[in-house]
């Protein structure tokens, strides 16, 4: 594990699952981690598990002006941000024929538009430092598609294109932008799947099991390490072999 002491890392959606595992591994490597949750209660729980390793803050990425205010608060309290992990995400599954505008918009706003806003907000600081790491958490379904998730798949595929474009824009400034695309990971999000859905999914995973949040966090940890300075615009697929890009 690399040493991240002195670095300020922001991880969105850090209450549970992949976000929490990522916040924990970055803190374990010495970074000061600011984890976000949508509720005050969630933020307190993050502060609790991070202990001296950082702090939880409330952030609803879809609230007007919330992202800019959040970034300003972090910079004031902790300093310029070195690492941004865009992990916050939601699902609103429905077959397209029945999908409502709200279900589409909620998913695009939370999973994609927030990434644009957060990246833009941290950009100035990273460009000035000539150093920075952005990791966007995508999904295998952004590449493969998945029935009932046209909104989620569109957002996650969009995230990969966004990652590549931004990576090209700012590579010359020492800032890398990458994505990690998890397969089916044992989190609250996949607990919502029915037994039938799970069985079908297992049949397509060569590793024949769900992934662990820590196995995604490990890929993030590599991408933010000094050793990954030459990796940018890349998507690392962590999915037990279910899709080999």
């Amino acid at each position: 594990m690399s040493d991240l002491s002195g670095q300020i890392a922001v991880v969105t959606g850090a209450s549970r699952g992949i976000g929490r595992a990522t916040a924990e591994i970055l803190a374990a490597q010495g970074a000061t981690v600011i984890g976000t949750a949508t509720s005050e209660q969630g933020a307190e729980a993050i502060s609790e598990y991070l202990g001296a390793g950082g702090k939880g803050l409330r952030l609803n990425v879809t609230e007007e002006g919330a992202i800019d205010a959040f970034i300003a608060q972090v910079q004031k309290e902790f300093g310029a941000i070195d690492i941004l992990v865009n992990n916050a995400g939601i699902t609103r599954d429905n077959l397209l024929m029945r999908m409502k505008d709200d279900e589409w918009n909620d998913v695009i706003d939370t999973n994609l538009t927030s990434v644009f806003k957060l990246c833009k907000a941290v950009m100035r600081g990273m460009m000035k430092k000539r150093k920075g790491r952005i990791v966007n958490i995508g999904s295998v379904v952004g590449t493969t598609g998945n029935p009932g998730q046209a909104n989620y798949c569109a957002a996650k595929a969009g995230l990969i294109g966004f990652t590549k474009a931004l990576a090209k824009e700012i590579a010359s400034r020492g800032v890398t932008v990458n994505a990690v695309a998890p397969g089916f990971i044992d989190t609250d999000m996949t607990k919502a799947l029915t037994e039938d859905q799970k069985e079908q999914i297992f049949a397509t995973i060569p590793s024949a099991r769900l992934g662990k949040p820590e196995e995604i966090a490990a890929a993030v940890s590599f991408l933010v390490s000094p050793g990954a300075a030459y990796v940018t615009g890349e998507t690392i697929h962590v999915n037990g072999g279910m899709n080999m890009a």
Binding site: R124, M127, E169, I170, S172, R173
Partner: protein
């Protein structure tokens, strides 16, 4: 206290890594001073910070030469 012209030139020298004698009033950032589009954005950001102002995009696009930068700050700066 240095003049606005001196402060603007200093920022251009720092941001674009050019020498003082290259920073002539008519010099174009992209054509003469080797700046790319990202350099120009960073230059505008640096001017905004130095002079504590916000330069709107449509104005920023017009700041393409050393003189244009000096003029902009002269016309929009409180000091």
């Amino acid at each position: 206290m240095s003049t606005i012209e001196e402060r603007v030139k200093k920022i251009i020298i720092e941001q674009l890594g050019v020498s003082e004698d290259e920073v002539k009033p008519e010099a174009s950032f992209e054509n003469d001073l080797g700046a790319d589009s990202l350099d120009t954005v960073e230059l505008v950001m640096a001017l905004e910070e130095e002079f504590e102002t916000e330069i709107p995009d449509e104005e920023a696009e017009k700041i393409r030469t050393v003189q244009a930068a000096i003029d902009y700050v002269n016309n929009h700066s409180a000091d």
